[in-house]
Symmetry: C2
């Protein structure tokens, strides 16, 4: 099972929008939002995906991930079985140095939250940060989408 290695940051301002080369719309629900065995149904633009994620390493940087593309109509049917708390967000893609940053602008109950992620080839791979990258939140489980589906940003105190 491939290991997903990524670093996650809060985003300080909206200049990622002008820097981006692509934007997608993502809708996702959870067949299990337990962070030890997350089962996610995702529609990304017009494609469906089923993803299973395991527990994180102690520092939260790497996580087991299994993903299969599935027909859009099957993804839509599986949404009917999902837990309450569907996540909707726009994802902006930005080239920066040798990496692609993905910036998620959350909608609905998580409106106001903007998170950027950069995927790395190894835990110690170096990367540079755009000026709009803020505080690191890698490994902070309350920013996991599976957690945001149960405890959305708009309800944080």
């Amino acid at each position: 099972m491939p290991l997903e290695i990524e670093r996650k940051f809060l985003i300080k301002n909206s200049s990622y929008k002008t820097d981006s080369f692509k934007v997608s719309f993502i809708k996702q629900g959870f067949l299990n939002s337990n962070k030890n065995r997350v089962v996610r149904v995702r529609i990304l633009d017009n494609s469906g995906f089923l993803t299973i994620k395991g527990i994180s390493s102690s520092n939260g940087t790497s996580r087991f991930e299994w993903e299969k593309e599935i027909p859009l109509e099957e993804a839509n049917e599986l949404f009917q079985l999902c837990e309450k708390g569907v996540i909707e967000k726009y994802r902006y893609y930005v080239n920066h140095g040798d990496h692609i940053y993905e910036i998620d602008e959350f909608k609905g109950e998580n409106e106001g939250l903007v998170i950027g992620e950069v995927e790395l080839g190894s835990v110690d791979e170096s990367f540079s940060k755009p000026t709009w990258v803020g505080v690191e939140v890698t490994g902070d489980t309350k920013f996991y989408n599976s957690e945001l589906s149960k405890n959305p940003f708009s309800k944080w105190v």
Copy 2:
């Protein structure tokens, strides 16, 4: 999503073994054992499957089911993420009239439990019963494999 229509029975004696034309070994674990959204990893002989089942109709006869074959090695890796309570059983296949009965002989913590199922094309399709078919348990959730993984037969009082 296809609707699975089946009737489930306890089995009275072991003559299904001599009537059977095939036997398989099944090992399965659950990425979610919640009966509203069961996510099951199964190894059947040398094949892997990922299955998602929805809630049952009020009489328990029909249930939404989504299934994909996955590589055996991926199934083995996904087992590591499953909840405790793996199910192991032998499945005997028996031709009877126009139908195939599948008889599950449970092992491990469910040793002693033997359940037969017949799959139907419609809810009112008629079928005949072999002499070894006993009490009907269709829709009784304690006989769901997802429930047996949490509350196995050997612990029933």
